[in-house]
Each structure stands twice: as C-alpha cells, then as structure tokens.
C-alpha cells in the first residue's frame, strides 16, 4: 500500500516563519545552526503527541484511514563547512573565565552548537577537572530569558552603530573636558584584555581602571606584600601537605582554585596498600563547609573565636621560634598540641584561611613561614594572578560618583549593585554619573540601572585568553556564532578606539608577539597560534621563585585591626560563596539552582543555618524567617555541626534582576557586611515569619546504624586493609543463589567510587544533568521530593550530634547484575544487557513505577509531569533556543516514563564504534561517563571488569571495596572504597 505525502507551500513557509520568529536574526543569514538531518530532539514533541493520541484512539485513526505522519524536513547546508561532519561531535579547547573563576575546558560541539563542557586534560592546573559551575555554564549560553539580546539605551534597543556614536561622542567630550571616567572590572586574568585596556587608557588618559571583586582574595596579596614585600598570591600545594589546618577556608568548594585544590587534596587523601599514608586535615570554622565536612577533625567555632585560635596558634609558634607573641588572647581551644604538630610536620604542613582580611592573612602567612611551609607546601614560583581587587579605589570611586565628580563609569563583568553592601548608595552614585554603561552578558542589577547596556558575548561566543597562574596561559575561542546581537567587550573598546572590531587578530598578534618568544616548541607564528589554539593551553616557564623579604615588624602594625576583629558577640554570622551560586552571577542557571548544596541538600534557596542548640536557645524552628541586622531576610535551617551562636548564610542568592530562575530566591547576604569581611556580629535579629518550606533532596541524615558508608581510620587500615569493611567478607561467604552466575561474554562495565577521594563537590551531578538531558523541575517539585538527577550525593552524619562527622556518597544506578527492578517490569522496558548494563528503554516504558519501588537504592526517576517542555518547571528546554543545549544522543523523556543512569551508554557506544572502525580493541579509560570525566579529584573510575588489566578490575579486588546493600545480593556493578579518615590519635 503506497501512501503519498504532499509538500505544500504552507509547510515551507510556516517553517520559515517559525525560524524568523524564534531564532535570532543572525541565524538565518549565517545558517550556522541549521536543523540537520539527524537532529531530531530539537523538534520532537509534536510527533510524540501525535503517536500518543494515535495510540489512545487508534480506532478513530482507522476510521480516518489517512493517519498521516507529519512531514519532516531534511535541510542540508548550502555550503557545508569542511571541518564539520553532520551528526558527529567535535571538541574545541576553550577557557571558562569569569572573574576569579577559571577553568580550561574542552567544549563538545555538535552540529554547530556547544552542548557539553569538559575539562582540558592538557592543563596542569585542572588536569581535566571541572566544577559544577563550569559544567553548567553551557546552559547560560542559551539563557533566552536573561541574556541581553541587543544594545540598549535606557531600556530601549538601539543599533550598535548608534550606540557607538553616542559613546564615542560622550567619551570624547569627557576627555576633552578632562573629566574622570572609570572602568570597573573584576580581576582581569586576561593579559590581552589588560593590554587592550592599557591602550584604551592611553587614548583616554582620564580613564581609571578599578578592579573590584565581589568575593575578594586581595587580602592574601596584600598580606604578602606587607609581610614579604611581594604582592603575590602563592600557590597552595595541598598535595605536599601532610598536615592541613584550615581556618574557615572552603578550599575544596569555592576558595581560590577549588578544582585544582580538590585534585591535589584528593591525591594526598587517597590510600592504597602500597601507600597507606594520607594527609591529616583539621578545620576550624563557624559554618559547616564542604571542606569542613571532609576534614579529619573539625572544630566548630565562632568567627571571632576562630581568629583568636589563629592568633594564639601564632603566639605559640612564635614562642617556639623565639619570637614575640602577637597579642594575648585566650581562646576556648587549646592550640598547644596543634602547634606541636605543626612543628613536627615542619615543611609538610599548611595553614590556610578563607578570610578576606589582610590582617588575618598576614597571621596565616606568618604561621606558614614559622612552620616552614614556604617553598614546600606553599609555592611562590607560580603565583596566582587572581585577587587584584582594590576595595579602597572602588570606595573612592563611589564617593566621587555620588558627588557627581565622575563623567563616565563602565561596568565589565561586575554587578556591584547586587554585590555591594550599600545598594542605595551605589545606585545613587551611578545615577549621579554622566554616562553609565554596562557590558553585562545576562541581566543584572547594575546593568538595569545603567543608561547603556552594551552586551558582551557569552564566553562560548568570545575570543580571549587567561593567565590564571604565572606562566600558565590558556585561550578562549568562540564555539558558536553569536546568538544575539551582542558584541564582545574587547571589540567595543577596539571600535571606540577607532580600530577595526577584530579582537581575534588583536589576540593573535599579542600572543605571537609576547608569548611566542617565551616558548620554543613552535617557532613558526602561524603554527604556534594554530597548535596552541588547538591545545587550549600554553605553559611557559615560570618567572622563578619570588624573593620573599620577611618583614616581621609588619605584624605589629595590624594589632589594632585584629583587636577590633576579635570582638565577638553572642550571635555572629558567616557568609560564604555558595558552591553552586558563587558570587551570584550565574544565579539564573536552573541547573545550578537545582543543584542541592552537598552539605545541607537544599536547593533553590539560601538560608541562615544555625545549630540545633542555638536554635533552641533563640527559640527558632526550621522554616522561620528572620531578619538579620535589619538587612537580610532569610529562612532558618537547623544544621548540626555549626558553631554555637553562629548563623551561616550563603552568598549569591536574593537576586532581583537576574531572570526567572534567579529572582526572589533567598536573601542577598552581600548586604550583611559593610566592610565586606564576610563575617561579623549579629547586632539585631527579628523573626518576621515562619513556615518556609525548603526544597531539600534529602531529609534524613542518619545511617540508622546501617553499613551504608563504611568508614575506618588510617591506623586501623594500616593494620588491616579491610578495616571497616568486615561485613564484606561475611556477605561474600553467605552469598547463595539458585540461579547460575550471570555471564558477560564481551564487556562488563563497572564503576568504582573512592569515598576517600570524593569531596562531595557535586560536579558530577551537573555533568550528568548536562550530558543526559535531565530536566529541571523547579522548587515546588523538589519539595515534593521528585528531583530528577540521575546521580546524587548522599550525605550522612555520624557520631556526635553537635559536631557530627559528615560522609558523602555519590549514588547513581548500581547496575546490579541481579537487578530487582528488571524482574518486575511487566513490559520488558528494563532488562539486562550483555555488557552488564541495567538498560532502560524509555519508549517501551508505560510507567507502572514498580521498578522505582523495587529499587533498594532508589535511583530511578519518574517523569511526573512533562518536565522537559513545560515552562512552569523553570526549565530552559521549554524554548527553542534553550533546547539547543540538549544532547542529541540522548532521548528527551516524555512524561510518564521512568529514567535513570545509563552509565552514559551513548558514550560507550561511541567509543566502541570508534574502536570497531579503527579495527582495534577498546582501551581502558577510553570510555568515561560524564560523572567520571568531570570529577576534579578522579574519585570515580569506570572500566571493563572483563579486562583484568583495567583499573576497575584492580580496584574491585581491593580489600576496601564493598557494594552498597550487598546483603540483598543484587550484585551491583558499582563499588565503593571505604572511607578512611586520619584523625589525631
């Protein structure tokens, strides 16, 4: 029976209209993103619905007798780019750069659009690791709601030519009158941008470059300048440190270079039979941070107390070294033992503090110097280029602005209206400035009060470079033609300089001129450029060890300031950059909003965490809204492990102009500390409401005595490699089955998780979401406990209720060889593959949810609603543009379908195909699920158990290995290595 289908004019033209309406203008002209032959996911819903309704009323379809399939188009390129193979992904190196956040990345580009970010393994800084925010950054590219789509003047769109004319004219006038102008930027890690700004300054001599970071590390730099005469931020070598003492420093989560630090830290934390050694980590902090959760010993103390301990530690060490103590303090904690330990680990110890205060950092530096850290665990030869913030200059600028002394102010990648404590003052200051303009890429509070918004490209659309560490350069290249009518900041400057807006050439020339001579691998400039661009990173020899000239007298000058800072109160607060939000610039990213904080498991919100005892004494219960210091309103969350009398509040929330996902989530904690010290005294608090409901992904935190996360200590491990894992042997002995053991003739995939290396940073969660098109479901649905993440980080408290130990456990589908879920599916939608994968076939699933019930690990997820396309769930994929982030290799699941971790089978298939086509066997480590690839600390290892040489085969034989709930005889393919801690004996 032959059917005829007809093309009609209408279809052609309707498609055109659609594109014209929904895609930005540039698209049609350049057709960079054509809808390609294999690109099904982008327009899938109509066909699905159609089949669905046909299914339900197939008889009426019969009656119709003309149940036509919708006509689909296959539109080829007009001129196909040489390097592009339709349907196949290509990878480009680039750099994630946002203020102080830096990560060299590889971007997966499929049919002309970036869809996934991975770490660049060539970088010696991150070695392929990423962070949650880096992983999620690809989504903000397609943020239709919040991205500025064209140049604007006072809220009205205008052409770039008009904007340029305006700006050039006004800048010219100001320069002619000798008026002041300022460019406010965060720390500029890009040397080329710095060079360009210098050029711009030359043309406009009255331009002042003000560097201002929302979360500033300048204190470390200033401390080193004052103490050692070198304004540097040294490199902290956690991989050399056998004793780490942290003071309120979340170096695994957000501090300085968390990806790198997590890797180094994990390297030293990893134990094996060959190396039964690991570092010891002691953490003093007011809040319960991710880093604190990983510590061997955690001392919860109020921020003022924390400083007292630091001072007394210095006193002790100074005393030992025969120097005079700083000042007399009497902390509740006795530092003698700690000081002794530091001296014992001379040269192998490291003390770090997260304080932004110069004075505190000077103390820390002094302690480190006394304990011989410099040159050993602190590397000054490759200092970090971050932390250039100059608060004083910014304050001066603001006061001048409010007095109308400044002719023009420009904001690049900064959002002080949100991040500066005095919102009213800064808004007035901007209003009092003759010309105010912002280069914001996405909506922000500052841009909204500026006269001009001249939107910058997203970093995936931009050229650029970065020097994060001295001598460690990396390049940024555009992966997609600009989606909107935006223009790169640097191009704007070039235009206003009267030059051609071609930052690409500028960048290339600068590199060829300045960096080519520093290396000797590629003598040819073109080759140098192409190869470096391909690699993404360039590392030239460091400039040599900075010469430290200790100035012990410097400490005397800070006593007054310290005395002021150790003034405590009954109630103090700590604010901290949250793991997912950072300083709040990515707050409109629903992936990040929905990423549960690994410690509290709360998402979509910030809160004032308070310890149970303190809450009881203050008369607070969870969900009460309190107003702190008459500035910030946040709900109260009861959180064990906090210091008594401490409120901990995350930064990055409480945006007002960030977009639908960002606005109105929690309170803006930046407002709390006028001196931007990020901790202080609670002078007043009032209860303003109650009954706030948190969206938490986990609400029960005790293991109930079950052997879920198996723990032991290093001492026990040295004696018995199976310490803490005694149950394993028992269960192995008692495993009985009626059925023959399952056989896997080819591959047998397995995943190992080293609980010692896992820091709980949650990068894998976002990586998985990005790779597998997992929908975002919004706060209400999370509250109903329906989070869709295929991978989650479970967290349990152990021990003392006031200062509990915290363990993290990444949990994904365990791919049991005796999977309980498979038996119970009536329609054969979930079965076991020959390669040991627990397969789920979405299109077969009718959604009885029996498998969810019967999964002991509860890793299966159900599409309760049409999450993927319904706007109400804060999902970006409800728009055509947002849907471009979807991975075409993974089906977008319909409502009513169960889904779960597939071991990234699309990657397995791709790697196998590659091996088959190249007629070779698959190499170990060639296949990496998204979580494994993203992990900064390499805590996850994936491979083939049938290959005796593979890493997983080795690890699964390790006596630390155990399987979760192995007494159920589910035979999981995921193994965990027991967590070993190294507490002080």
């Amino acid at each position: 029976m032959e059917k005829k289908y007809w093309k009609s004019l209408k279809e052609v033209q309707r498609a055109e209209h659609l594109q014209a309406d929904e895609l930005p203008a540039d698209h049609q002209a350049k057709s960079m993103i054509d809808i390609l032959a294999d690109d099904d996911n982008s327009k899938s819903s109509s066909r699905r619905d159609f089949l669905k309704w046909c299914g339900i009323s197939f008889f009426s379809a019969t009656v119709l007798s003309a149940c036509e399939n919708p006509v689909k188009k296959a539109i080829p390129y007009l001129n196909q780019p040489e390097e592009l193979i339709p349907g196949k992904a290509s990878w480009y190196a680039s750099t994630y750069l946002r203020g102080n956040d830096y990560c060299p990345v590889l971007v997966k580009n499929r049919d002309g659009r970036p869809i996934k970010i991975e770490g660049n393994t060539l970088s010696s800084i991150t070695k392929g690791g990423t962070s949650a925010r880096v992983q999620a950054s690809v989504l903000s590219l397609y943020d239709t709601g919040a991205r500025y789509k064209q140049a604007m003047r006072n809220g009205e769109g205008l052409l770039w030519e008009e904007a340029d004319a305006d700006v050039v004219k006004k800048l010219g006038e100001i320069t002619a009158q000798g008026g002041r102008m300022a460019l406010v930027t965060p720390t500029l890690l890009s040397p080329v941008t710095r060079a360009l700004i210098d050029e711009f300054k030359a043309a406009h001599p009255s331009l002042e470059l003000v560097t201002w970071d929302a979360v500033s590390y300048a204190g470390i730099r200033k401390a080193h300048e004052q103490l050692f005469g070198q304004p540097i931020i040294p490199d902290y070598r956690f991989d050399n440190a056998e004793l780490i003492v942290g003071f309120g420093c979340d170096f695994l989560g957000t501090w300085l270079s968390p990806v790198e630090f997590a890797r180094r830290y994990a390297k030293k934390r990893r134990v094996s039979r060959d190396k039964p050694e690991m570092s010891q980590h002691i953490q003093f902090e007011g809040m319960l941070s991710l880093t604190g959760a990983n510590a061997d010993e955690r001392v919860p103390v109020k921020p003022s107390e924390e400083l007292k301990i630091l001072i007394s530690l210095y006193n002790k060490l100074a005393g030992l070294a025969g120097q005079s103590p700083a000042m007399e303090v009497s902390p509740a904690y006795d530092v003698d033992a700690l000081a002794g330990q530091l001296m014992e680990h001379r040269g192998r110890a490291l003390v770090v503090s997260g304080s932004p205060q110069k004075e505190v950092q000077m103390l820390v530096a002094a302690i480190n110097q006394l304990s011989g850290a410099y040159g050993n665990t602190i590397d000054t030869s490759t200092p970090l280029m971050t932390g250039m913030s100059d608060d004083d200059a910014f304050e001066t600028l603001l006061s001048d602005m409010s007095q109308g002394k400044v002719g023009a102010v420009m904001f690049y990648q900064t959002n002080p209206v949100y991040q500066y404590p005095d919102t009213e003052g800064i808004v007035n200051a901007i209003k009092n400035t003759g010309l105010s303009l912002s280069f914001a890429t996405t909506r922000d509070e500052t841009a909204e009060v500026c006269q001009y918004i001249l939107p910058d490209h997203h970093y995936l659309e931009s050229w650029g470079d970065a020097e994060f560490k001295a001598g460690h350069y990396s390049l940024m290249q555009p992966l997609i033609h600009p989606l909107f009518k935006t223009r790169q900041f640097q191009d704007s400057l070039l235009t206003w300089l009267g030059r051609e807006a071609d930052f690409h050439s500028y960048l290339k020339n600068w590199w060829q001129k300045n960096l080519l001579p520093q290396q000797n691998v590629y003598p040819d400039p073109t080759n140098f450029w192409v190869k470096t661009l391909q690699a993404g990173v360039l590392e030239v020899p460091a400039r040599g060890m900075a010469n430290l000239l200790p100035n012990p007298g410097a400490l005397g000058d800070i006593m007054a300031a310290l005395r002021e800072q150790i003034q405590g109160a009954d109630l103090e607060y700590v604010t901290y950059p949250s793991l997912s939000m950072g300083d709040g610039h990515d707050a409109n990213n629903p992936w990040l909003q929905e990423l549960p904080d690994p410690v509290t498991s709360v998402c979509w919100d910030n809160f004032s965490a308070v310890s149970p005892a303190t809450a009881a004494s203050l008369g607070l219960v969870e969900g009460d809204m309190i107003r702190i210091n008459d500035k910030v309103e946040v709900p109260v969350l009861i959180q064990p492990g906090l210091a008594a009398g401490t409120l901990a509040i995350a930064l990055g929330y409480g945006r007002t102009q960030g977009g639908i996902s960002a606005d109105g989530r929690g309170g803006n904690a930046f407002l709390l500390s006028p001196k931007r010290s990020f901790h202080g005294l609670v002078s007043s608090w009032t209860k303003v409401g109650s009954g706030h409901l948190f969206a938490r992904t986990q609400t029960h935190f005790s293991m109930e005595g079950r052997a879920i996360v198996r723990e032991s200590t290093l001492d026990k491990y040295k004696n018995d490699p199976a310490a803490g894992n005694e149950l394993r042997e028992y269960h192995l002995k008692h495993h009985n089955t009626l059925y023959p053991d399952p056989e896997f003739p080819g591959h047998h995939w397995a995943l190992m998780v080293d609980l010692n290396a896992c820091t709980g940073c949650s990068t894998c969660v976002v990586a998985c979401q990005s790779e597998n098109n997992t929908p975002v479901i919004g706060k209400d649905e999370v509250r109903r406990r329906r989070i869709m993440h295929w991978m989650r980080i479970d967290r349990y408290y152990t021990g003392d209720a006031d200062n509990p130990g915290v363990v993290f456990q990444p949990l994904m589908c365990q791919h049991c060889d005796h999977a309980p879920c498979e038996n119970v599916c009536p329609v054969a939608a979930t079965t076991h593959s020959q390669e040991g994968i627990n397969q789920i076939t979405y299109n077969r699933c009718v959604g009885t949810k029996y498998c969810i019930n019967n999964c002991p690990y509860k890793v299966r997820r159900f599409n309760w609603y049409e999450y993927a396309t319904k706007e109400q769930f804060n999902t970006h994929t409800s728009t055509d543009l947002g849907r471009m982030v979807l991975n075409p290799d993974v089906t977008v699941r319909e409502r009513g379908v169960v889904e779960k971790c597939s071991f990234c089978v699309q990657r397995i298939q791709e790697a196998k195909l590659k091996a088959k086509m190249e007629r070779r066997t698959l190499k170990d480590g060639e296949v990496m699920p998204a979580c494994v690839q993203a992990c900064p600390s390499s805590a996850l290892v994936f491979g083939d158990l049938n290959d005796p040489e593979s890493k997983v085969s080795q690890l699964i034989k390790d006596s630390r290995n155990y399987h979760l709930l192995e007494e159920l005889h589910t035979l999981p393919s995921v193994g965990y290595l027991t967590k070993i801690r190294n507490p002080r004996s």
């Binding site: 309704w53 109903r784 456990q809 019967n854 009513g896």
Partner: protein
C-alpha cells in the same frame, strides 16, 4: 463446613413460589423508593469528582498525585488492593454455595457477586490510572507485533493484570450465568416493552427446561470450581506484587496467605455492610435472616483471628530474621515510629474489635454488626496503607526516605470509585433481583418440607 444439614430457617415464612417471586422481584418491578434516588445522586456526584480527578491525572500527569521518588505507589495501589479485597467475597460466596453446597449462601451470593464485579471494576481502574502512560497500556498484552517484542512473564505486575482480568471475567460469567433464569422470569412478568426486550435479549432464550437445568447446574459447578482457586490466587498474586520485591516489609513469605485471609475478611465485612443495608431497604428480612448475618459474623470473627495472627507472625519473623531493615520497618516504622498511628488503627480495627463477635448478642445486633463491618473496612484500608507507605517511605537508604501525603486528586479518584461502586450497585438493585430467585426457591421448598416434617413429628 461441608455438611448439608439444615439446622435453621434460611427462608422464613411459609411462602409459595408465586409469593417468593413477587417479593423478590419487587425491587425490579416497583418504582424505586426515594432513598434510591438519593443514593444515585450521591453516587453521581462522587463519580463526577472522580471524573475530575481522572481528568487531572490524565491531562497533567501523575505529578498531580502525592507520589514521590521513593513512594511511587500510594493511594492508588492501596485503593486497588482494598477494592480487590472487597471483591473477594462474591466469588467466595459462590463457591460456598456451588461447590460446598452451603445452602445458606444462596440468598446472599447474587448481591455478593454483584459487589465483586463492581469492586473489581473499581480496583481495575487503578492499575490503569497509575501508569505514567496509560495510552500505552496495551503494551502489557502479549500479542504479536512488529516490534517482535513480547513482555516480561517474570513480572508480578503482569501476573496481576492477568489475574484481575481472569477474575473479572470469571466473576462476570458466574454472576451473569447465575442470573439467566431470573432474567427470563422478569422478561415474562414485565409489562414494559423495552424491559421485556432487554431482559429477553439477555436471558438468551432460556426456557426453563429440566435438561437445560441439568447442564446449567453442571456449568455453574464448573465455573464455581474454576473460580475457587481463583479466589485464593487473585489476592495471592496481588500479594506477590509485594512479596516478590526486595523491600523490607514486603519481602515476606507470609504475605500471600495473609493477603488472602485479609481479602476474605474485608470482602465479608463489605458483604455484611451491604446486606444489612439491603435487608433494611427492601425489607428482605425473610430471605436475609439473622442467621445469615450471624454466619457472616462468625466468619469475620474467624478471619479476624487469623489476621491478628498474621500481624503477630510478621512481627515475629521480622524479629527472628535479625535483618536490620525488617526490624526497622516492623518495629521502628510501624510499631512505634512515624506510622504507629496507622499501625495501631489497623491492629485494633482488624484484630481486636471483631472479637466482639464472640458474643451472640453482638452478632444478632444489627447496629453493632453494621458498625463493626464498617470498622473492619476502614481497618483493612489502613492495613494496605501500612504495607505500602511505611515500607516505601522508609526503606533501605535513609537518604531517600520521603514523607508521603496524598493530594486532592488522589482522594478524588478514591471517591470516584465509591461513586462508581454506588452507582453500579444502585443500577443492580434497580434492574436485577437482588436475591437469586431460582436458587432461593428450592431452599424455600426444603424449608417447607422440614417444617411439615417437624409438624408431623410433633403430632
């Protein structure tokens, strides 16, 4: 139980066949009383609520229910099991009557079977509605297709579907075939043309021949015999849904017999409720005698003992097994924990209160009977609640423990099934003789003979 001795009045009064027919057909032939309209209105309103709830869940998705990532079965399956349990009594009665020749079941089994059919229909709605994609429900049928894909015969859910289908079809066959002679009777008596046509059509040309009766009785016996194992197997298979899984509190071997007894228990309770109502409403005191109710009450007492034993056995096995998860579920979650209220409601309502029936006064007091029967139904609902929710909400990994609260849609669907059940029963009351005339008549004759004999004996 297998004796055939008639020890008491099963049909009261010395009635001729004509009288019996007149009295038993009263509900069909007379104008329905006011309460019938009232009940029908309530039923329709409930049905409308149900329709709204079903519309919500079909159009929006199962997100409108109160389910979570861990508690993926909630009120839907609770109600399903509850209804299936209620649906047990009818067939059980038929077996008592047809296979074990318990004459006393004769006057009850028609209504009980009707109840079965409607209850199973109500129950069958839930497996369909609880699917994420009910429009693909046909995937569950093993039919040859172009995918070359069959289905998973290991899945208890498939057994369940098959069991319910089989049970529903067999129940309907039993009910309908048992109705055929009565339909023929009505067809002859009714004056209404449409009624005559419809009753005539459905009586399939029954002419009351002795030879037909011969085959007919054989058929009913066979159907009853086939249904007998079904009565046991249906709820056993429903129990396998849970027992085959690995969840603590589900994975126990006692579950199948426990479910079966529970089903009989709840089914008989519902029969009691309905019989008391019918008897009151249609003044069928002569056909549904105190003795009938007494008998049911005795069965309930017996069932309650077994149920109580099952509860205690479960606790014992959990403790004896030494499995920490089971101990948690039974002793911490159910006995004392988050679900202790529901647990103790269940225990009191099912295992303790029915012990009242040890007293004859309680068995003969209609008010007590009625109240206790309702209490048992509530208790049995909580039993299913305990089994489902307490297990799923607090299972192996504490990280995924979630609370569970039903939504309006959950409640709406439940109310809707009540509406369906009420409307069904009302239509049944209105159009079909509540008591099987052809089965009661021989009983009445036997009664008459016995009386005559007694009189002769006395004189």
């Amino acid at each position: 139980m297998l004796n055939n001795k008639i020890r008491y009045a099963l049909v009261k009064g010395n009635k001729t066949y004509g009288q019996i027919t007149d009295e038993l057909l009263a509900n069909v032939e007379q104008k329905p009383p006011l309460w019938w309209y009232g009940a029908m209105t309530i039923g329709t309103i409930l049905l409308a609520i149900g329709a709204w709830a079903v519309y919500m869940s079909l159009s929006q998705g199962l997100g409108t229910w109160g389910l979570t990532n861990s508690v993926a079965w909630g009120w839907d399956i609770i109600n399903f099991v509850w209804w299936i349990g209620i649906g047990h009594a009818g067939t059980a009665f038929s077996i008592f009557f047809l296979v074990f020749r318990q004459k006393w079941a004769g006057s009850i089994n028609r209504a009980a079977e009707a109840m079965t059919v409607f209850a199973v229909v109500c129950a069958a709605m839930f497996p369909l509605l609880h699917m994420g994609r009910p429009w693909l429900a046909f995937y569950i049928a093993p039919y040859p297709n172009t995918r070359l894909l069959w289905l998973n015969f290991n899945s208890p859910l498939f057994w369940d579907v098959l069991a319910i289908t089989t049970y529903l079809i067999t129940s309907i066959m039993l009910w309908y075939m048992g109705m055929v002679p009565d339909l023929a009777t009505i067809a002859q008596r009714t004056k209404n043309k449409v009624g005559k046509f419809l009753y005539g059509m459905f009586s399939m040309g029954w002419n009351g021949s002795l030879y037909s009766y011969n085959r007919y009785e054989t058929l009913m016996k066979i159907l009853g015999g086939l249904a007998a194992p079904l009565v046991i197997s249906v709820h056993t298979i429903v129990a396998l849904d849970f027992a085959v899984s690995v969840m603590p509190g589900w994975h126990t071997t006692i579950l199948p017999p426990y479910f079966f007894v529970g089903a009989i228990f709840s089914g008989f309770a519902m029969v009691l409720t309905i019989m008391i109502l019918l008897r009151k409403a249609f003044k069928l005191t002569d056909y549904i005698t105190e003795k009938h109710l007494d008998n049911i009450a005795q069965v309930l007492k017996f069932g309650s003992l077994i149920i109580g034993l099952a509860y205690v056995t479960e606790l014992f096995t959990a403790w004896y097994s030494g499995v920490e998860y089971e101990i948690f579920t039974f002793f911490r979650a159910r006995f004392t924990g988050n679900y202790s209220v529901q647990f103790w409601v269940m225990f009191t309502f099912n295992a303790i209160i029915p012990q009242l029936f040890w007293f004859k006064k309680a068995r003969r007091n209609l008010v007590i009977l009625f109240i206790v029967s309702i209490i048992i139904n509530i208790g049995m609902w909580f039993e299913r609640y305990i089994i489902l929710v307490s297990t799923l909400a607090q299972d192996y990994l504490p990280s995924s423990w979630t609370p569970y609260h039903p939504t309006m849609v959950d409640i709406g669907i439940y109310l809707g099934t009540f509406g369906l059940f009420t409307c069904g029963m009302m239509m049944f009351i209105r159009y079909i003789p509540i008591i099987a005339i052809n089965e009661v008549k021989p009983i009445a004759r036997a009664e008459k003979l016995r009386k005559l004999k007694e009189q002769n004996h006395e004189h």
